[in-house]
């Protein structure tokens, strides 16, 4: 901790607080128009919504080391990485609302966010990120550049063939890729120990001859430090690393998930590991920030989120016939 500046600590706190506020706000807006009877097709945000509350430290601890030219390929639950990577929040929100001011003018939606300015993308297919980030690594190597790629997947995704194929390829070709497994213990309803043959996916790195680290996502500083090493190694051209971050899913797999499969204690234990509360306590205890300054910072973030939501709400929907455009690239 000694070597991390107060500035970085505060910056990480800000981003984590922003992510949490954003997710919890979306989480309540999602139910507008969906009551009394829950109807997935209704309201300002239709379809599935996978929120990342509790998992902030994984995104923030890693993205602190990334530059805009570094790529992130995310998952169906990607808002935290998008925000930490610097995706335009207004455009992202408008996209989630299906509006014409959105990143993709409403074509993509919450699981399909693309922001080429900061090299961010994500998708709704489990395990799809690993080969794609590997490909970014191939490009970096051919071009002789020092940008890196981060592939994100859940603990469930580590049982996909794509994960193992990509680790092998990236290790074989010494590609600048950081494979990140967010272990939130649940592949929807299936617990990790019922789906994964080893306790830690990070151990699987051994099979491919690369470093594998398991780190507690309740502690953003720990994630920051582990990520620093992996990103620097990748930039030096020494090849890929695997980081498994133990994260805590505060909400359902998707909004509306009754979570009947999940013991109450599991959620309580998860909430006790809140990475934001932990860092907040450190900031106050070490007198890095005063409580009133902290409150002011939180107020500012809340106001920014409020403005962002208002922007998305006020934006118009795309013209229906735009649905037929952009299947193919045209000069």
């Amino acid at each position: 901790m000694a070597e991390i500046s107060n500035e970085i600590l505060l910056s990480m706190y800000k981003t984590m607080y922003k992510i949490r506020t954003y997710e919890e706000t979306l989480g309540s807006i999602y139910y507008e128009g969906k009551s009394p009877a829950f109807d997935i097709s209704a309201g300002p945000i239709p379809g599935e919504l996978h929120l990342s509350s509790g998992q902030e430290a994984a995104a923030v601890g890693i993205c602190m080391h990334l530059k805009p030219e570094d790529a992130i390929v995310g998952t169906h639950r990607a808002h935290h990485f998008a925000i930490a990577k610097g995706v335009d929040l207004k455009e992202m929100t408008a996209e989630i609302f299906g509006k014409t001011t959105g990143l993709s003018s409403g074509k993509g939606g919450h699981m399909h966010l693309f922001d080429a300015n900061v090299n961010f993308s994500c998708s709704g297919i489990v395990g799809a990120s690993f080969p794609q980030a590997t490909g970014v690594g191939i490009a970096a190597k051919i071009q002789g550049k020092d940008y890196v790629a981060v592939a994100v997947g859940g603990d469930g995704a580590a049982n996909q063939g794509t994960f193992h194929e990509s680790l092998n390829l990236a290790a074989l070709w010494k590609l600048p890729v950081i494979f990140v497994i967010e272990d939130n213990s649940w592949a929807i309803s299936v617990e990790k120990d019922k789906s994964t043959s080893v306790g830690k996916n990070s151990e699987r790195a051994k099979a491919y001859g690369i470093p594998g680290v398991y780190v507690d996502g309740g502690d953003v500083i720990a994630v920051y430090e582990v990520a620093k090493e992996a990103v620097e190694r990748a930039r030096r051209g020494e090849g890929p690393s695997l980081i498994e971050v133990k994260v805590y899913r505060f909400r359902g797999h998707f909004e509306g998930d009754p979570q009947l499969y999940r013991p109450k204690e599991d959620l309580e234990e998860a909430k006790a590991k809140d990475p934001i509360k932990k860092l907040e306590k450190q900031l106050i205890d070490r007198e890095i920030i005063k409580e009133e300054e902290l409150k002011k910072m939180q107020d500012e973030i809340e106001m920014e989120i409020e403005e962002t939501i208002e922007f998305a709400r006020q934006s118009p929907y795309p013209e229906p016939q735009e649905a037929l455009e952009n299947v193919f690239y045209r000069e």
């Binding site: 009877a37 379809g47 996209e95 003018s105 919450h110 794509t162």
Partner: protein, 334 residues
């Protein structure tokens, strides 16, 4: 005794009854145990049959779908569920190179009594990777039977037939027909279902409404859009006949041809993509057999060749519906 059941319960009941009668039937898939299937198709099965026969799998589709082939080769009758049809990409090799071909390549020495079931369809804002139909893709591959029920009675009878079939059957249920409560579903899809097991032979289409002026051939949720359109067309003095194909492979050519012979007009409606799919297949069939007898060129309404957009405004524009069916039939009558 029959009682009204939503489609998801009809499917799980069919599976349960076959499992009771035949120890070789078992189920594998993601979230099919404790959760009962994200769309409820395996509701209550874990409680009845336990984890040896109702297997929650890792997210390893090549492994458990390819695994269905291996188990079938040793006399089991596996049912594999993969949550959304959109997710099949990662396991395609096991399906189209192996499960579909093993019987043929072995010249009939190996049989593949496998059911692969999955959810299809959009209309609720789930965007490009969770809303497709794609059954046309699988129907294109020789060796796979393709089942697409539109109501709970058919769902049970077709599932029972699929499990008892000695060939690989892909069974596609539309999310918007399952009667889940949290996903809009037409009331008409939940019908009376007999308690006892029964089968509906694969390859028998159903005339869901008789008519004399135009034949609408369709499947799955579009059956209801066609029925609602036909109701309005009646008011304008136009009588449409509606055929629910129920299975694409085998295809009940006779029912389609006989109907179009009678009406002289054909409209094919599909929620799957337009090009190289079901609509083209049915139009070709009719054109080849009785093209000269048609009163007007055949027409089709399908998902235009674009990925499913997220925004409600965009998705509504591309999804075939009652109004478009009605308009097209009217054009065909003038």
């Amino acid at each position: 005794m029959a009682r009204k059941l939503p489609m998801y319960k009809a499917i799980s009941e069919a599976i349960a009854q076959e499992m009771e009668k035949d120890n070789s039937v078992f189920v594998m898939g993601e979230d099919i145990g404790t959760y009962g299937g994200i769309f409820g198709a395996t509701t209550g099965l874990l409680q009845k049959f336990g984890p040896e026969r109702i297997k929650d799998t890792p997210i390893s589709e090549s492994a458990f779908i390819g695994g269905a082939l291996g188990a079938a080769s040793k006399g089991m009758r596996p049912i594999a569920e993969l949550m959304f049809v959109d997710f099949f990409g990662v396991a395609m090799d096991q399906i189209y190179n192996h499960i579909a071909k093993a019987h043929y390549m072995s010249n009939g020495h190996i049989k593949m009594p496998i059911v692969i079931m999955t959810a299809i369809g959009g209309g609720y804002g789930d965007a490009a990777q969770h809303s497709q139909c794609l059954y046309g893709l699988f129907a294109h591959v020789p060796g796979l039977k393709i089942v697409i029920p539109s109501n709970s009675y058919d769902a049970k009878g077709l599932m029972t037939a699929a499990i008892r079939d000695d060939n690989p059957v892909m069974y596609f249920f539309h999310k918007g027909l399952m009667g889940l409560g949290w996903m809009p579903s037409p009331d008409e899809a939940a019908v009376d279902v007999p308690e006892e097991p029964y089968t509906i032979p694969l390859g028998e289409a159903k005339i869901v409404k008789e008519g004399k002026d135009a034949t609408i051939v369709t499947v799955s949720r579009m059956v209801y859009e066609a029925l609602w359109a036909a109701k309005e067309l009646e008011k304008d003095g136009i009588s449409a006949e509606i055929i629910d194909l129920r299975t694409l492979v085998p295809l009940d050519k006779k029912t389609v041809i006989n109907s179009v012979k009678k009406t002289g007009r054909l409209l094919v409606v599909d929620e799957d993509y337009r090009s190289y799919g079901m609509t083209g297949e049915i139009v070709s069939l009719v054109s080849e057999k009785i093209g000269h007898d048609l009163k007007t060129p055949p027409r089709r309404l399908a998902y235009p060749d674009v990925p499913v957009p997220y925004s409600r405004a965009l998705e509504k524009f591309v999804l075939p519906d009652k109004d478009r069916i009605k308009g097209t039939v009217k054009e065909m009558m003038t």
